[in-house]
Symmetry: C3
Subunit: 480 residues, 3 copies
């Protein structure tokens, strides 16, 4: 299996390359290209925009599409009527299209009911939304659960509207149908799952969230090409009601979710931000904090709070899943948030690629990180006779030797390789590679599940049982 964190980025890019058939340097371009494909679609929490989106994603990865009928009760909620829209506009007194859905998806308040009406400007005004502070941006507004209609427009355009009669035409439908979400399951050796979650309900907002959809798709594609112990599940669902649907249909499965990450807002120029799970001390919290703060440029780690994306539901007290969230800027944390300025100019191939690479690093560490047991715990084993230690004494040990000393010293079954990397200050890649050498030398074995002191249980008990330890024991160590 592959080696050092330092190398993961490059390797991951290479792997994506293999998977996409593009040169590594083009992974960012490919991500950007896919985001650009997703951008024009008019998504909402239900409707054909979501289905179209899932279809595009399904061209890249094996995606099971689920439909949940309108009216289905989902915990405290119910799935709303399905909303679709063909056209919408406001015609001015002179008959010109003052606000035109065909010009931008954001012009219509999502879930606006069908309408054909003539109004004065005063009557129309409460249905018009703009951003006075950003007169050239169209805001993004929704009214999923209260029957309503409205238009969003540039404040500059709003200010130019003169008194008179306006014609409002909304060619939408609100009718029993279903909510759609997609699921990509990649089986590993273990039933223990890693969950990736991304929302697919936003229309024509590039960072929020074509970036998340693109990265989740590429990540799933790449994982499918990798050896793995964990199983992986990617859920592409509308925000809130979509994650609630998934949770409601998968309650029996949640116990298998060992780690999880909500992905979104991963293409903007901001540095990476990891938001801790509600528990705050999960393995995923340790891992992502480690990677994000070590990233170049370093990102930041923030505490859990109950506002955000679908971690709101996944980390509600009734589920409390070990799920964190990875973004660059945070929701409501950048000026263009939820406006037409969150467009394809805001995201870039480079940022998308670096986001993907960090996710790939996370997966590689999740896969390789374990609690190990030193099989010769009394004193240091004699590394030199195994060619693992320099023969010439009197000098300080080389980095590789230091890594081995750290692993041997800490591996009493309570410390994971990542713990050791953090305590020693030695990079994870070097620790992992030294652990491999020690394992090959018969000095180290993976901790058996039952004896583990933390939550994380290595997936396959049979595989992680320290077979060598037992041999060594019965063989009385004399053969080493």
């Amino acid at each position: 299996m592959n080696a050092a964190v330092a190398q993961l980025g490059r390797k991951a890019a290479g792997a994506a390359d293999a998977a996409t058939g593009q040169p590594a340097a083009d992974v960012g371009q490919a991500l950007y290209g896919f985001a650009s494909q997703l951008y024009p679609i008019c998504r909402s929490i239900t409707g054909n925009g979501v289905r179209q989106t899932l279809e595009l994603i399904g061209q890249r990865i094996e995606l099971a599409r689920h439909e949940v009928a309108s009216g289905t009760r989902v915990f405290d909620w119910e799935v709303p009527l399905e909303w679709n829209i063909e056209d919408a506009c406001v015609l001015g007194p002179d008959g010109a299209r003052v606000v035109d859905f065909r010009a931008h998806n954001l012009h219509i308040v999502s879930y606006s009911e069908p309408l054909q009406r003539s109004l004065t400007l005063d009557e129309l005004r409460p249905h018009l939304h703009s951003l006075p502070a950003h007169p050239d941006w169209i805001p993004y507004r929704t009214s999923y659960y209260r029957r309503h209609w409205g238009f969003c427009l540039r404040d500059r355009a709003l200010q130019a509207m003169r008194p008179g009669r306006y014609q409002v035409q909304i060619d939408s439908s609100l009718a029993p149908g279903s909510l759609s979400y997609g699921e990509c399951f990649i089986a590993g050796k273990s039933r223990e799952e890693v969950l990736f979650f991304t929302h697919v309900c936003h229309p024509s907002l590039a960072n929020d969230n074509t970036s998340g959809m693109a990265i989740a798709s590429f990540l799933a594609q790449w994982i499918g090409t990798q050896p793995r112990r964990y199983s992986y599940r990617f859920v592409f669902a509308p925000g809130t009601i979509g994650s609630l649907c998934w949770l409601s249909r998968n309650q029996q499965r949640l116990k298998h979710v060992r780690h999880g990450l909500v992905l979104g807002l991963l293409g903007d120029p901001g540095t990476l931000t990891y938001k801790r799970s509600r528990r705050g001390d999960c393995d995923i919290d340790q891992l992502l904090s480690y990677l994000v703060t070590a990233a170049d440029p370093p990102g930041s780690v923030i505490d859990f709070e109950p506002y955000g994306y679908d971690e709101r539901q996944l980390c509600s007290p009734g589920f409390n899943l070990p799920v964190g969230r990875l973004t660059r800027s945070v929701n409501d944390g950048y000026a263009q948030y939820h406006s037409s300025a969150d467009d394809l100019a805001l995201i870039s191939p480079g940022q998308l690629q670096r986001s993907l690479e960090l996710c790939q690093q996370a997966v590689e560490i999740l896969e390789s990180n374990r609690r190990m047991v030193n099989l010769a715990p009394k004193g240091e084993p004699r590394l030199g006779k195994r060619g693992l230690y320099g023969a010439m004494g009197g000098r300080s040990p080389a980095d590789r030797e230091r890594a081995m000393l750290w692993i041997l010293n800490q591996s009493d079954g309570s410390a994971s390789l990542l713990d050791i990397a953090q305590r020693s200050g030695i990079g994870y890649a070097a620790i992992r590679s030294a652990a491999d050498e020690l394992t090959n030398a018969g000095l180290l074995a993976a901790q058996r599940t039952a004896a583990g002191k933390r939550r994380q249980r290595p997936a396959g008990p049979a595989r992680t049982r320290p077979v060598r330890a037992r041999k060594a024991k019965s063989g009385s160590g004399g053969k080493r």
Copy 2:
């Protein structure tokens, strides 16, 4: 019941108003006036000065007076003879009163034995106490447990004394009698008690402790007018031997003391100081630290140490009560401490009022703070359909909505409302008010006692049982 911490001060002043019949702005004046009434009395650890003090306090609140006979054994101590004093003076060689008890209570060393004697200045000198660093201040000295006599005087006066014969007259009495302390009990719905303790043994020291006596009296008066679950007990007792007497007579009752606060030194210009209980992590420690550091200007929090006021006894290892201490300056922490300069000019109506208000805020939070349980813990409940959440989506939630999300997310029975206020950074008043709204909406209920994870147990089990939760359960949530 009342609402926001921000409002508590004003409301509390209003409440005091109702109780005292004075306009709110005069609460400080009323406190100062009461302190001024208490100031001239010559108190000691026993004697009529204490009784006179308790009588004045008893005119404001229902005060039970207790007398403990001289010679009564109290743990390792015994109640001393009762001391009273009529007059005392030192007459100079010319017959003039060089030191005159009638001019200031502090001139006599407390517990000085009766005396009529002629001495040379050299013989007298060891019995004279002054403060060379503050030549115009009279120090405060006592000799409770060693039979002794002495005078305290301005160093300037001491330096002016010329050789010659001096007449010492001390018209005091040291005789079997009793130690007096007062107790005001305000019953609440629960037997669990909040204990307030203040010392009443210092003569003519304004900050130490007419300020504490005045505030404790007004606080008790105000609590009597408030709805409450806790019972409250105010003890006005001489320092050390008085609190030991109270402890000794109330050992069976101590298990009911859930929170406690020693009050003193609350009128000086210093900022507020909270001294933690010996345990250091009691609910009262969390609460007072929260309030004192949020005060304007911010106060400070200091660790427990075994010197100070009656927390010395209340927090001795054999009792270890959950009792902290609230002062402004600390004992021995201001120049005028234990001298005649700790007079009515040192304390002010404003400081007294603000001290009282903080105590009132503390009581309001103690009363309302609970661990709550989210009755719809799987995912977020749909607040919008209950009118608790804005209908227009796409914008960030309002403060009230954020407060609700925080409460719902954290209320698994382990976090109190104050915990949630601190974690979220949202003011306690907003959290409490949002909790009330959620409770009214059937989404939240108080945690039952037994399941609480911390020490604090809400008082009445019957009242705090989440009745709504059960209804909701049997009603299968469908009605919401």
Copy 3:
């Protein structure tokens, strides 16, 4: 028994005086003198140099010498052949001694095999080791476990060597023999042991480690003259293989090791450095951190890492002993490390003496530190009637009184005297002396072993049972 930390240094010096027959001021000189005696010996991990060293140490303290035969299996290792050396040199093309073992022990790579050979400079070169950055220093190199030979020399000398034929003569022996180590056991009242460990394998390196050997020897000598509850064990052994031999032969005894310290590098000009045990929170960690940071000038405390001296073995996960390490500079932490510049000019009598004094202080605190129980825990006992508190009230307590209040308040059996010293900020000596006064007054007794909340168990249960507490109980306290 002796009193204050402040006094410990002086007293210790005095005690050393008694033990060595030298004036106290000469303890540093005596240490330096002994280090100078040890310096010229050519030590390695086996051989007569070690035996000669143990003989010199044995002239000061009762030292049991142990021999472990070559080939003995020791955990993952085996004791190597014994190495001795008579002479070694490199003769230049002109027959002159270019490198001469007789000039400096470090010229020969330790464990160089016997040799007589003629080589060209090119052939010789790989066997020559120098320090280009320090052209006048001879490096220290070893090849214990790979049969090899080599010379170390000044880089200046290496650069001056001209092409031509060189004669190499190594008059060494590598033959079955044994590894030698010494052990000094000083019985105390308890079987619980304090372990001191120092390495004796380095040739002609003054700080590393004639300093450690000298201090360990003097410390053992001094402890023999002191009353003590613990037993003490000093091990003088070659690094790594020597400590492994000791561990292997003493596995049954390890459970008695309550505290331990590896000593080395104690004469250089650096400030003291305490390296924590692997556990990180042992009593020895608390104690040495306390002493080292309070030293003048203050030293530093570093975390455990698995590289260093014999703590590598003692703190391997299979043993995990409560053993820290005391040095001044750390291994590889000073320029002269492992070179001929680590000579007698690097170490000084003053630094050696101050290192010894700190070890003596550590022993005195280990001996006197206990968890105490307040026998009158309800309220403060009346110290005044026992002459332990000033009679004149109104002033703040004196330091001695504050120490007593702290001890009484904290002594519920969970806090040790050192804990109390640290919490109160009062020096350990004052705390201990106040504890003695309180004990003599019948107010305090040592905590019985079983009820102790931390690892440390006072040695003799019979002695530490709070006999007075029981008397007091049955006597109902009335007699006090």
